[in-house]
């Protein structure tokens, strides 16, 4: 039997159906897809990222070759306009007639535009498709002020988009609060304050009567209360309506507020026509989220396959509704709504917590008997979302005082999260991909014991990513249960943690990798253990990293003492301690960059970076830098990077100590120090903190009486404020404490663990750290200081050694058998400098460039 399947709509859900069918490969299926848009399915959920840098291709959901390989006929820019259910034929806008055996409506929704006079003026938009966004972008380029009508979830996302376009942004909401559907009054107020702080003006309780020509801008919006607002562009985001027009016209039965009636198999009243996704109406409602749509797609794929394979329909999956809880980050503000957020269940009780200073609001709705969680709202901090959601979905019994689930604990420790063991095997952990705890555990048992492997095996965590923390928890718990120690072994070659290896190296005075692997490891080593051991050896004995025995351990960056760039060229960063540089120094750097045609830029670390050096140029560039008085900046190493300074008491009218002098001294003291990860420091001359010391691994802030020492701060991926370790120190004590702190970190941290993460995992926390560093509780302070002293007194500039060591220098050529340069490294001009050519540009005829080496 063959079956002609016609899918109308190639949006997120329609495409999921195609993928499911392609995977099942039922016999005899012939699929045609009508796609109204000019491009096949893309990720609407992440649509807004189009304005923060993603291209249409990045958003595509179509694997390369998908349609060709699965033999699906895709008609782009083809809209269905009529369904003839008697003849089983669909007509398109172009007049093409397509016959079907089964049809699936996956037509999604359209934005609702309120019937306001003037709503279709040029410069009025909706926010649903990439084409909508392209149009907004074009108009936005000529606009200053943009307004979003609608303060719901999508409206706020749209406001972010307008801000990303660089517009002054306003949100106009009819209801008295933002996100009226998801959050309650107080939550709405806190959300509003947060959003306003981000520079978006919010107007609530405003109903737009009319849009006419404006005076100071293109449009004027007139409100019911007599006020008005002038704007260059207006975006409607006042809700969505299911696209059920085809179904209405062929009398398929629709809900009172729209949506095509379907049963548990997503069949309409005509069993040859299914409806899935946002256009479907099931159990009295429609579903404006992607996860329920994906569920429907799976149900229909299974149903169609069963028909083709003539399987009995009893064991088939059915659509059973969906939980509409959501967690979002709107303009950087966490917002979550769970279950019955408004407490409409009869007899329910609620608990609320709000912190006006930190702008956090949390609410729990529990059943009358206090045993079950019914819903909740989280604004400003949604870290409990995963736990609360699972408690609600699985009906887990609440503790006696459920308020503690949302109250911050007084000792600052994290609240006990819901243990993975408390969840039943049926608990759905990843809603986007419908993966249960049981499935995760099975995959772990079958060998998926890393997050990468588990994602590949189950797809959990691959869509919105919101479930990843919980998936990790389940994985670890299952591994523990299987007796698979969640080990911290460095890699397959060493059954030791970094900390243990460090200890072995120290105690057994091991100086070379070969010795260590022969005694304590196996195999050849790899790109994980080799650089880690190289770093340990350098922290302990400080021998030249390019010395014969250490050379092959170094990560490429350390091996060539420079950072490799995407095209295989390198960057060159000379040290400028404290960010101080003389005019002569600057001129020398400029002259060298000019001579070798390098791209120059001031880094975020107060120094100059030169990019685009070819491997063979590095030694001569460095020779010239060394002649001009510069040293290696260790930008390539897991080592001290920079000590950021402010001008302090020497120049600044507020400075109370010589922050610049101290920054330079610190940088000179710790330069070259190899550590588990890179180290950054800063010294500020007063509490205004212009050097941003509280964002560094080691931060020093001047006080009237000396220095305050902060530790374990971090910028980067997960910013963390540094904490005060000791206050009002004199300079010798400051240095003593930093010596101890750094060596203690080097001894005990994991590989590639910044001080911030190390500190978060340190048992006993800050108090323990103070005990060790300030009060010498372990009696190791003198030892730590002596170890640091050894490093400080054996410092040598690596580049100086490299350029004078003929063995090391020999390695800096691209070819072992030719003096030519790498022809694949090609630059093109941009803004008066060079940048790497794109693959496209490389394919075009090249402009010959001369390369300066010696």
């Amino acid at each position: 039997m063959t079956m002609k399947l016609l899918v109308i709509g190639n949006g997120m859900v329609g495409h999921k159906l195609l993928e499911e069918l392609a995977q099942r490969q039922p016999p005899g299926l012939d699929i045609t897809v009508l796609c109204e848009e000019s491009r096949p399915a893309y990720d609407r959920v992440h649509l807004s990222e189009f304005f923060s840098g993603k291209s249409a291709e990045d958003l595509s959901l179509v694997r390369p070759g998908f349609f060709e390989q699965s033999g699906i006929q895709l008609r782009l820019a083809a809209r269905a306009v009529h369904i003839d259910r008697q003849q089983k034929r669909v007509t398109t806008a172009d007049g093409e007639v397509i016959a079907y055996d089964k049809a699936v409506l996956a037509t999604g929704s359209k934005p609702f535009v309120p019937p306001i006079p003037g709503n279709s003026r040029a410069g009025c938009f909706v926010y649903r498709t990439i084409d909508d966004l392209l149009a907004m972008q074009q108009w936005g380029a000529r606009s200053k002020l943009g307004v979003v009508i609608g303060g719901g979830l999508l409206g706020l996302e749209c406001a972010k988009a307008l801000r990303d376009l660089g517009l002054e942004t306003h949100v106009v909401e009819f209801a008295p609060r933002l996100m009226a559907v998801q959050v309650d009054d107080i939550g709405g107020q806190i959300l509003r304050r947060k959003i306003e702080e981000l520079g978006v003006t919010v107007h609530t309780g405003k109903s737009t009567q009319e849009i006419v020509d404006g005076e100071t801008a293109h449009h004027r919006m007139k409100f019911a209360d007599g006020s008005y607002l002038d704007a260059d562009m207006i975006v409607f985001s006042a809700g969505i309506r299911p696209r059920d027009e085809l179904a209405r016209a062929c009398e398929l039965g629709v809900g009172e507020r729209g949506g095509i009636h379907v049963d548990n198999y997503c069949r309409t009243r005509d069993w040859d026509v299914y409806a899935i996704g946002e256009c479907a109406y099931w159990g009295g409602k429609t579903f404006g989220l992607v996860a329920p749509g994906y569920d429907m797609a799976r149900v229909v794929a299974a149903h169609l396959s069963a028909l083709l394979e003539r399987k009995h329909a009893l064991e088939l999956p059915e659509f059973a509704g969906a939980d509409m809880s959501t967690k979002l980050k709107l303009m950087g503000v966490d917002v979550a709504s769970i279950g019955d957020a408004h407490g409409t269940t009869p007899g329910s009780r609620s608990y609320q917590f709000s912190d006006e200073r930190r702008q956090i609001y949390k609410k729990l709705v529990v059943s009358g008997d206090g045993k079950r969680l019914l819903g909740g709202v989280l604004v400003g901090d949604a870290s409990e979302y995963g736990t609360l959601l699972q408690m609600m979905l699985n009906g887990i019994e609440l503790p006696d005082e459920p308020e503690f689930l949302i109250l911050p604990s007084s000792d600052g420790k994290a609240k006990p999260a819901l243990g993975a063991d408390a969840l039943p095997a049926s608990a759905q952990i990843c809603s986007c991909n419908n993966v249960s705890k049981g499935q995760l555990c099975e995959a772990v048992a079958a060998g998926a014991t890393s997050m990468g492997a588990l994602k590949a095996a189950t797809k959990a965590g691959t869509t919105c990513g919101g479930c990843v923390p919980l998936v990790t928890l389940v994985m670890k718990a299952q591994m523990k249960r299987q007796g698979l120690a969640v080990d911290n072994h460095l890699c397959e070659h060493f059954a030791y943690s970094r900390q243990e290896l460090y200890h072995l190296v120290r105690v057994e005075r091991i100086r070379h990798f070969d010795e260590l692997i022969a005694r304590h490891g196996k195999g050849l080593g790899c790109d994980i253990c080799k650089p880690a051991v190289a770093s340990i050896l350098a922290s302990c004995w400080n021998e030249f990293v390019l010395q014969k025995e250490h050379a092959s351990l170094q990560d490429s960056n350390d091996y060539f003492l420079a950072n490799i760039q995407k095209d295989g060229s390198y960057s060159v960063v000379p040290r400028m301690p404290g960010g101080e540089v003389t005019p002569e120094g600057l001129i020398a750097v400029g002259a060298i960059a000019k001579k070798y045609r390098l791209y120059t830029k001031i880094t975020g670390g107060q120094r100059v970076d030169m990019f685009g050096a070819r491997l063979e140029q590095l030694p001569s560039i460095w020779e010239e830098l060394i002649d001009a008085g510069f040293e290696s900046g260790h930008a390539y190493g897991k080592a001290l990077r920079t000590v950021k300074s402010c001008v302090g008491s020497s120049w600044c009218r507020y400075g109370v100590q010589d922050s610049l002098g101290t920054a330079i001294d610190l940088e000179n003291r710790y330069k070259g120090l190899r550590s588990p990860h890179k180290l950054k420091m800063a010294v500020s001359g007063c509490t205004r903190e212009c050097a941003e010391a509280q964002g560094k691994d080691v931060g020093v802030i001047a006080t009237e009486r000396g220095w305050n020492l902060y530790v374990c701060g971090n910028g980067g991926m997960k910013p963390r404020h540094a904490e005060l370790l000791a206050g009002d120190l004199d300079t010798p004590t400051l240095i003593q404490y930093i010596d101890r702190f750094l060596m203690f970190y080097i001894r005990t941290a994991d590989r590639l663990q910044r001080t911030s993460v190390w500190r978060d995992n340190l048992e006993g926390g800050l108090d323990y750290l103070k005990e060790v560093i300030v009060h010498d509780k372990l009696g190791i302070a003198a030892e730590l200081e002596a170890e640091m002293q050894h490093i400080v007194s054996t410092y040598e500039c690596e580049w100086k050694k490299a350029v004078t060591d003929p063995q090391a220098r020999k390695r800096f050529q691209h070819f072992v058998n030719s003096r030519q340069s790498d022809g694949n490294v090609v630059f093109v001009p941009e803004r008066g400098q060079i940048r790497p050519a794109t693959p496209d540009e490389k394919r075009r005829p090249r402009i010959p460039a001369s390369v300066v080496t010696e």
Binding site: E492, L524, C526, D527, C529, Q554, D555, D567, G568
Partner: protein, 116 residues
């Protein structure tokens, strides 16, 4: 050193001492870039120098190691591993590269043809 082509079609690209043990170098043979690795004292391997994941000629600069029984190099750009015997890319097999014939003769390192 200039490369010399022997009568049998092998090209001498360098001396064994030119390669630091457990590292690689890049040789130019007929306009092709080949990464040649010395593992331990004597063992030689050769694969393309071009890393298709990064579109850059960098594999000779990667770290040499083992994954189970396989001897591999990790690309210095995004760290995918390539099997030195076959050129197979472990993380992205569609981005595998060619392996080359290579041998040691009287202290010289000789490159042959790509192995198909």
């Amino acid at each position: 050193m200039e490369d010399r082509v022997t009568a049998t079609g092998w090209t001498i690209v360098c001396e064994l001492e030119d390669i630091v043990p457990d590292t690689g170098v890049c040789a130019l043979v007929d306009d092709q870039q080949v990464a040649v690795f010395r593992v331990g004292e004597q063992q030689l391997y050769a694969i393309d120098n071009f890393d298709p994941n990064a579109n850059a000629c960098v594999l000779s600069r990667g770290l040499v190691g083992s994954v189970g029984e396989r001897v591999v190099v990790a690309s210095p750009i995004y760290k995918q591993h390539f099997d030195l015997r076959t050129g197979e890319c472990l993380e992205a097999p569609e981005h595998s590269v060619q392996a080359w014939q290579v041998k040691l003769e009287g202290g010289h390192v000789l490159l042959g043809q790509p192995q198909r």
